[in-house]
């Protein structure tokens, strides 16, 4: 529902006050409402329009509506003022001084999964001070008052260190030393692939440069895929691409659909469209190549340029039978663009001449080129209705050349003619000859739609009545006739339905002393009708 679309805008812009042409009237207001129907008059979803309006205005008038909304808009969305901001910034903050060689999961006090994004330290350096200082902290009781916070923290009761404890600590030192050495070496060897991917996901520092063997690189990519993170998959697939020969890359990529998706999405976002095209071709995804090329061909904003670039796309795919249906559509688009340009050029001359009545009264407000086919047909029906079908701008030749359906043609032509109040031509449009040279009224879109369009354009009652009479379903005809005040049709239909009571009721709806009232009374007195009531 977001906004009006281009096609509609363009179409509506051709003539002044054309808006209402595209607006569609309600089909029938008197039909039983599908939801709920206890109100009189028009209801939607069980709510009466009138009633809503009444109540609404009543409410507003109780207190002036302006006054009501003027003050204390406490429900309004504003950049709210909030004073109670706690300065506790600790939540989700960084606790990341544990960079041991052996990977340790972050222990976070606040409970939420914290990531140490701001820490730029490398993955495998070890800081021993944290773990050891606690063990060796001798209580410092030398200082006297005042006791600072720091003193308070280290102020643990003195304890005699036993020999076993010392040896225990020494073993631990040994262990940690080995870890440091391992860690230093580990800087240049690789972490298990799973750990590296985890680091990417958790936003911790990582390095891929140590993965030198193809096996490692693939294991890394597969680990990323297995752990589902798109960021890690993209990073590892780009790493593979950068560090191995193209043929190897392609051969391995093709086995990993998820990796392909991520690479494609990356190339799209990065506007590496040439590379993307190459990738699609390698994967033999010709439909995607086609769509990509078409999208690029739409870049020119001028009709002529766009026609050319689309034609080039059509040419380059002419041998691909699987894309033939879509290629045909593109070819039609080219033809249309060229035709629009030709029509426009001619029309400029005609309009400049100032003789053409339609161009004089309704100068075009928008450009024809780049509008959709249906809009073009409407345009041609509006300005060039009676031209012979050898003319490029004749609506019939457009219908023929683009193989449009009778319905498509009827909608456009009828709308255009109704807008111009050309009732005679509408009659001709809806008249079809039968085999024996006789004529018959026929509307492939249904006469109820014809009436709808005509009434929108304020067609006179006798014109509406003519087409109302062709609506087959008497109840539908009755409803529409009553809505448009075509009294004779109402009377005729009620006679057909043999509904004398309804006819009686309808009497007051006809104007006093009118021919219609007379007609109705005659019908009531008609003794030949077998009334059902």
């Amino acid at each position: 529902m977001a906004g009006k679309d281009q096609a509609r805008m363009a179409a509506a812009a051709f003539t002044a006050d054309d808006e209402d042409y595209w607006e569609e009237s309600a089909v029938s207001s008197s039909k039983k409402n599908m939801f709920d129907d206890e109100e009189e008059g028009f209801t939607v979803l069980g709510v009466s329009e009138n009633k809503a309006a009444r109540l609404s205005s009543a409410l507003r008038s109780t207190v002036g509506a302006d006054a009501l909304f003027a003050d204390d808009d406490n429900d309004d969305i504003t950049w709210e003022t909030s004073s109670n901001i706690s300065n506790s910034s600790s939540h989700g903050s960084i606790t990341s001084d544990y960079r041991s060689a052996r990977y340790t999961p972050p222990t976070n006090r606040s409970g939420s999964l914290s990531t140490s994004s701001s820490s730029r330290s490398t993955a495998a350096t070890v800081t021993l001070d944290n773990s050891l200082s606690v063990q060796f902290n001798k209580p410092k009781m030398t200082r006297s008052e005042p006791m600072s916070l720091e003193d308070a923290i280290v102020d643990v009761p003195a304890k005699q260190v036993t020999a076993t404890e010392v040896s225990k600590l020494e073993t631990e030192i040994q262990f940690l030393r080995r870890q440091v050495q391992l860690g230093e070496r580990a800087r240049w060897t690789s972490l298990p692939v799973k750990e590296t991917i985890k680091r990417i996901i958790l936003g911790q520092p990582y390095s891929l440069e140590a993965y030198k063997s193809l096996q490692d690189k693939l294991a890394l990519l597969d680990a990323a895929i297995k752990m589902h993170d798109g960021d890690a998959i993209t990073i590892t697939v780009l790493f593979l691409k950068k560090t191995v020969r193209k043929s190897i890359f392609q051969q391995e990529l093709i086995k990993r659909p998820v990796a392909i998706n991520h690479l494609i999405h990356f190339l799209w976002c990065h506007y590496d469209l040439d590379e993307l095209e190459e990738l699609y071709k390698m994967l033999r995804r010709m439909e995607d190549v086609f769509v990509l090329k078409y999208k690029q061909a739409l870049a020119p904003s001028k009709a002529a340029g766009r026609a050319q670039s689309i034609a080039a796309v059509v040419r380059s795919f002419q041998h691909d039978s699987s894309l033939a249906p879509d290629s045909t559509l593109l070819l039609e688009q080219c033809t249309l663009l060229q035709r629009q340009l030709q029509i426009e050029e001619e029309d400029k001359k005609i309009a400049a001449g100032g003789k053409h009545p339609v161009f004089k009264d309704h100068p075009p407000k928008a450009q024809l080129p780049l509008t959709p086919l249906t809009t073009t047909l409407y345009y041609c029906s509006f300005y060039h209705y009676n031209e012979s079908d050898s003319s490029l701008s004749s609506p019939l030749s457009i219908k023929r050349d683009f193989q449009m359906s009778d319905k498509q043609y009827t909608w456009s032509a009828l709308n255009a003619l109704a807008k111009l109040h050309r009732w005679k031509e509408i009659e001709a449009l809806l008249t079809s000859k039968n085999w024996f040279g006789g004529t018959k009224m026929k509307a492939c879109i249904g006469f109820e739609k014809v009436v709808e369009i005509l009434s929108k354009q304020k067609a006179p009652v006798d014109i509406l009545s003519k087409y109302l009479a062709y609506i087959e379903d008497p109840n539908e005809r009755l409803a529409l006739a009553a809505k448009h005040k075509c009294h004779r049709i109402v009377v005729d239909t009620l006679i057909q339905l043999k509904d004398r009571a309804a006819l009686e009721d309808y009497r007051l709806k006809t104007p006093d002393y009118s021919l219609e009232r007379q007609y109705l009374i005659t019908a009531l007195n008609n003794s030949q009708v077998k009334w059902k009531n």
């Binding site: 329009e49 429900d75 309004d76 989700g92 993170d229 999405h265 769509v291 559509l329």
Partner: protein
Amino acid sequence: MAVSAVLGPKLPDLQYLKRLARDQLVHLLESSPGRKDLVIDPDLMTPLDRIAGASLLKQHGVDKIFKLDRTKIHGGCDQLVYLVRSKLTTTKLIADQITADIRDNRKRKYKIIMTPRRLQVCDMVLEHEGVFGLVSIEELHLDLIPLDRDLLSMELPQFFRDYFLHGDQTWLASIAKSLVNIQSLFGPIPNVYGQGRCAKMVADMVDMMMSELGERQSPVGCEIGHLFLIDRDVDYVTPLCTQVTYEGLLDDIFGIKSGSVEFGPDVTGTDKSIKIMLSGEDEVFRAIRDRHFSNVFGFLSAKAKELQTSYDKRHNLKSVQDMKQFVSEELSNLKKQHKALTLHIGACETITKNKSRGDFEEQMRTEHGLLEGVDVRECINFIEESINRQHSRTEVLRLLCMLSSTQGGLPSKDYKSLKTQFLQSYGTEHLLTLHNLKKLGLFVEQQAQDATANKLADKMAAKLTDGMASLQLQLQLPKKSQFRAVSRKLNLIPKSAENFELRNPNDMAYVFSGAYAPLSCKLIEQVLQREGWTGVEDIAKLLPGDNFVHLKAKSAKGKASGSNPDSDKIVLVYFLGGCSYTEVSALRFLGKQKGYRFLVATTALTNGGRLIESVSGWK
């Protein structure tokens, strides 16, 4: 429908999430002292309103606030802070602006705050553009934003396009993380159910992240008993339907953004527009939000009379004391209600006007026909007519997708004819949109049934020689959603559409005028009732993606002392790829019916129009 106070188990307080995000934002701003200019991603504007206001930002050192676009950022401070969604295109834009500054010899400090998470690919882009050394990068864990007492949203509408259309899994970690955060606040969720490929991946990632956190000794008990993860492609039909609940209609017609709606002059009856927050805190709104539209106006009308009586009380005030009490206690409350009432009645008016124009009735008949599978030919004719008449493109596409999704694709002849006429009416450029819809499985051609077995075998052989590329193709083709069969098995279409009770509904289908109950919500009902998929395997088999369940044994001593005794009745439903307001209403109804309380989380609130627009290939 219970209008009065909320009954049943108590929901956890979601406002914690808001406070956490706000504190973190403040911390990030304060961590670089001094005045700074702030550039905000347009996508973040409305969501951010729910977390922090401009004045809060100003209190913490922000000088001027800009919207991120292609224009140059001026501003007087020597620090520039970008607050953006972590996206490649956005990062490139920032890099371009920094490069322009360098060219102009302008020196400032740059900080980029990425939300919901810092992406390595974005780092890579900054590195590639040569500006990595000039910026400091932080992350703001803004994931689920509380929009109401029972509604959470990531406000990440692009997730639908990124994941379901492009197969990009970048946001999955953030979704998983949002669940980890929920569990660290409200305790581990013992029972997890899921349907769909994405749901499974998210559940895996949650497990991984939880194990990274290790055993927690936090005193938090378990407040949420069940989690249901569901992929949007399990049920495309529901969000495609025209909404007829009050809140759904507000969203369809006015567009609800991050829980607030803007009413134009036609609603307010003045020449001003008014933006209001829609929430359960508003008594009037709470009473009508979930109702079928036909049942709203009567309520508002009665409420207006009631209000009048209350106002009239002022004439009967006997003493100054009474007067004082009236003015100090009742009047402001009355005024508040009066205002809300006026706006909602105005909105009803606009909705009614909107729906009485055009062929709303025929459209509803078409939708109901499609859902029920009757008079499909007439439905197609209506859609064709709408195309020929160039009615709203989005509306037409929505109906086309509904047609295809309910019928399991279109017969070749209809598909080609509708496609051609669509392109003729709206421009061939929309071939790009149709291509996207085909990829999603939303508008597709039925596979020819008459292909002989031989031909099929040939095809298979050809595919095999194509190697893994065809595997890729198969993965891309979504499993055909067998809507008709699922609908029958889940009883989505009530037997008697006539005389359906819309005022005091006893069937969830009331949310669609008694014509259809949302597939997603009915599925959730079945699985919760059975505590797993046993007994509904034949239904699950027909849905795309796999299902899973992890139940924690009830007898386990894991039940912490602090546990909310009601937790077993609290269910968190997480829609991956968006959910509609109608689905939220349906779940609230289900909760009342079965004694559950539902918390709904989603990547974004969606409706038919937004769903279609989000995958459009041409504007």
